[in-house]
């Protein structure tokens, strides 16, 4: 071909300054996985703040019964946007973004298999979110039918505004980006590992991202189809989900949860991956039972496809159906429990450094186990009949997603921030952040278990003055304020450390996976030289040639 004239100058520095010539353009047009990863992290953090403000507003409204701080219409928009934002525009893209940054490094590659597809995924996510949030500025406002948009409430004639349409379109765009990410990850992991890195030697974070990516590939199309049907209903008068015209409200639920349940595993598996990297490094031991952790991930991925109707135990599907999904949902607890035990066993006998990543990693175990155990409880149909659609469920999933995924995300940020930026985050501020988070989080959500069993339904803009409900809600609101404060501390830590953080060096934590075998931040080509891989911990093997992980491993 003739000589290339690039539209944008080739990038030569890891983190080009925005102030430099073409600085912004080099970021916006980047197809480098590290830059794209960082963009994901920054944008998801902004959505985290937005979703958090939505939550705080709701908690203020619920601080005492009969409050009129928010109108019912606005409250319903807020809880819809809070759920949609946190799931689709915070946790999921954060984990995808951190994966996009780390995957090539962890497998010793130069970039993802399809760098331009990678960029497309990011921009679809970016504009999908803007489309969704634009709805706040329209006359009819943001969607107000819940993040699950049950039919027929979400359709005409019960929803005459455009909110649900913005919701479906924004998520459709973003979802296509997620499928593309899933595809990119799968091909990258399967075909671009450095020689010597067999599938049995990839870091557990990579295992988790592989299963997560396969889930993305197979379940996002389910919700894409559901959105298409919903949009056809609302725009062309189709009758998929309108019972008045022969459609089926329950069909929507099957489609939504057919996607929605695997989605929550998409939210947690990469978090498990982060924990599986952090805990061994800070315990100074290899992960206990690598094969079992990897295999249990595959088991969870497969089982997650068969449990969706446990969200529908109160719909009236029949008790044979209920029993099947009940059993499947309980079974999924087993591989999950195996993982938890493996993490605890990794810590056992270690020499543990309780730096901030490990503080969050350890707290993750406790918080997630609470969420997991309440999950097993509600897998039991009669218990679900008591507590579904109550604050018990709100407590359950916040323990699993916040206490689980978000705590793991914090652990990951403190762990990998030095690698991404070349600077350490402040340990002092980190500890403040940690303790405020633990206190705020538990104060907000633990008491909600009790509110649920006492009879408080969810998705309600107000509640009746039943005995103790007011004070209990007030405690929850105060906890939420403390959580808000903790996020401010976190932001402060990041800003201060970007400017003045201690220089990190290549491997500040003395970790063992390949991303630590290069500079912080890595050069544009990732590695000057990829170390030889003869085991699961290449840098351990290099540092301990007398005690390699796999004695007798052949040199490739």
């Amino acid at each position: 071909m003739s000589s290339r004239i690039p539209l944008v100058p080739e990038n030569t520095v890891p983190l080009p300054s925005l102030k430099a010539n073409n600085g912004l353009l080099s970021w916006v047009s980047s197809v480098d996985h590290k830059q794209i990863g960082i963009m994901y992290l920054i944008v998801t953090f902004i959505y985290f703040l937005l979703g958090g403000v939505e939550a705080l507003l709701m908690r203020v409204q619920l601080a005492h019964p009969g409050n009129d701080f928010l109108t019912p219409e606005l409250y319903n928009q807020l809880f819809t946007m809070h759920g949609t934002t946190m799931i689709f525009f915070v946790v999921m893209p954060f984990l995808i973004g951190v994966g996009v940054y780390l995957l090539p490094l962890m497998i010793g590659a130069r970039d993802m298999a399809f760098p331009r597809l990678n960029a497309l995924s990011f921009w679809l996510f970016f504009f999908g979110g803007i489309l969704l949030y634009y709805s706040f500025f329209t006359q009819s406002g943001a969607p107000d039918v819940g993040w699950f948009a049950y039919a027929p409430l979400s359709e005409k004639p019960f929803s005459l505004n455009k909110g649900p349409t913005y919701w479906a379109l924004g998520l459709l765009a973003s979802g296509i980006g997620s499928v593309a990410s899933g595809l990119n990850n799968v091909v990258t992991i399967l075909t671009m590992r450095t020689p010597g890195m067999t599938m049995r030697r990839i870091p557990l974070f990579v295992w988790m991202m592989l299963v997560t990516s396969l889930l993305l590939v197979f379940v996002i199309p389910i919700i894409t189809a559901a959105f298409a049907m919903m949009l056809l209903d609302s725009m062309l008068g189709a009758t998929f989900f309108t019972p008045a015209h022969g459609g089926s409200a329950i069909l929507w639920q099957h489609f939504f949860w057919g996607f929605g349940h695997p989605e929550v595993y998409i939210l947690i598996l990469p978090a498990f991956g982060i924990i599986s990297e952090v805990i061994p490094v800070f315990s100074r031991k290899p992960i206990y039972g690598y094969e079992f952790v990897a295999a249990s991930t595959v088991a969870i991925g497969l089982l997650s496809l068969g449990v969706w109707a446990h969200h529908m135990f109160a719909v009236g599907l029949g008790n044979v159906t209920n029993a099947f999904f009940s059993l499947a949902s309980m079974l999924i607890a087993i591989p999950t429990g195996v993982k938890v035990l493996n993490w605890v066993a990794t810590m056992w006998g270690g020499r543990i450094n309780f730096a901030t990543p490990m503080l969050f990693g350890t707290a993750f175990i406790i918080e997630f186990v609470v969420g997991g155990l309440t999950g097993v409880a509600i897998a039991s149909v009669p218990i679900d009949w008591v507590v579904t659609d109550s604050y018990f469920i709100v407590a359950h999933f916040h323990y699993a997603i916040f206490g689980g995924s978000v705590f793991a995300i914090f652990a990951g940020v403190y762990y990998w921030f030095p690698k991404f930026t070349g600077r350490m985050l402040s340990e002092t501020l980190g500890k403040w952040h940690f303790w405020l988070t633990v206190i705020g989080f538990n104060m907000t959500f633990f008491i909600q278990h009790f509110l649920g069993v006492m009879g408080m339904p969810r998705r309600t803009y107000t509640y009746y003055d039943m005995p103790y409900w007011g004070p209990m809600n007030l405690i929850s609101t105060i906890g939420a304020m403390i959580l808000g404060l903790s996020v401010l501390v976190f932001v402060w830590n990041i800003l201060v450390s970007l400017r003045n953080g201690r220089p990190a060096g290549d491997n500040p934590w003395n970790a063992w996976t390949l991303e630590w075998a290069t500079t912080s931040p890595p050069p544009v080509e990732n590695f000057e030289l990829v170390p030889p891989v003869r085991g699961r911990r290449p840098l351990w093997d290099l540092a301990h040639p007398d005690m390699p992980d796999e004695p007798g491993a052949k040199i490739v």
Binding site: A249, K285, G289, M330, I334, V344, I383, M454, G455, T460
Partner: protein
């Protein structure tokens, strides 16, 4: 200490069965959580890196035996939990077979239509039942999905348009049981309360008879004025009052409204003063409700309140 309600006050054999299962499961969960917490606490104390410690600890890669043991134990726990699940399900929700429902509950945005097929009683938001009897309810919806939930009495179940559901309803003790809609159904989902009044058989019969009385329309005084207004204003377009031409089902049947404990599915206690406030501007108390502000004058409100109260004095 006031009654905590819900799970802590089960008032039917079904609810007790579910509460028992919940407590067993919470107990098992607490033990498991306790083990993890104690293990982690021990680890934090014992395996924290001490300042004088150097080098790396023993690199333990795992043990297949231990993995098998701690996979087998959860399998056993799950098996027990599943068996308890199935037996409780059967006890709480036995099949209805061909039995005709005793109560039909129809969900509306944002009120409950209650019918008794056998006696012909039609009312709203309040369900009266005889204590101790196991009744079969059929639940339907005229618009969106709702959910019938009375926490002290039993399970909850969705009211799905196009898909009628069945549920057993029984109260072990006399009393008033408060419930709520438990499936987000729009703006006023939060104000769609349920009252179940469980009373001795004799009282229930008496209530049924009272509900079946078709009151004669008052003609004199402000109650008579109210009766006329009711027919001429748009009230008839949405409400039923038996014994008159008003027979619409968009809104609740008002024939024996004065007998009910609340207005607007729980939004206001039912007193003449509150009824006047509601009529003056229902949107103030239940914003988004399908009852528009009819912009009635004070005297119009007084008359209609008098009419509705008069209906019940017969």
């Amino acid at each position: 200490m006031e009654n905590l309600g819900g799970l802590f006050n089960p008032s039917s054999p079904e609810m007790e069965a579910m509460a028992d299962l919940t407590y067993y499961t919470i107990a098992i969960s607490a033990v498991i959580l306790g083990i993890i917490v104690i293990a982690v606490a021990y680890i934090i104390i014992r395996y924290r890196k001490k300042p004088d410690e150097d080098g790396e600890p023993y690199q333990d890669f795992g043990s297949i035996k231990i993995e098998l043991v701690w996979t087998a134990i959860p399998i056993a726990i799950v098996a027990v939990l599943f068996l308890l699940t199935c037996s409780t399900m059967k006890a709480v929700d036995p099949p209805a077979g061909d039995r005709e429902p005793d109560i039909v509950i129809i969900g509306h945005q944002w009120w409950w239509e209650i019918r008794y097929p056998a006696s012909g009683v039609m009312t709203a938001n309040e369900v009266h039942i005889p204590v101790g009897e196991k009744l079969l309810a059929r639940l339907e919806s005229i618009d969106v999905i709702h959910d019938f939930w009375v926490p002290e009495l039993g399970r909850k179940i969705d009211l799905v348009p196009g898909h009628p559901n069945y549920m057993w309803l029984v109260a072990g003790e006399p009393g008033v049981y408060i419930g709520a809609c438990a499936e987000f159904c729009g703006d006023q989902h939060a104000n769609m309360r349920i009252r179940v009044v469980a009373e001795p058989e004799a009282d229930f019969e008496k209530w049924t008879d009272e509900q079946l009385v078709v009151p004669s329309t008052p003609t004199a005084g402000i109650a008579g004025e109210g009766a006329k207004l009711f027919q001429t204003m748009a009230c008839m377009n949405c409400h039923t009052i038996r014994g008159t031409a008003a027979a619409a089902r968009v809104g609740p049947d008002l024939t024996h409204l004065a007998d009910r404990a609340t207005i607007g599915a729980g939004v206001l206690t039912n007193t003449p003063e509150n009824l006047a406030k509601w009529l003056a501007n229902p949107q103030r108390y239940k914003q988004g409700s399908l009852m528009p502000n009819m912009k009635l004058s004070d005297s119009e409100v007084k008359s209609i309140v008098a009419y509705l109260e008069a209906l019940n004095e017969q």
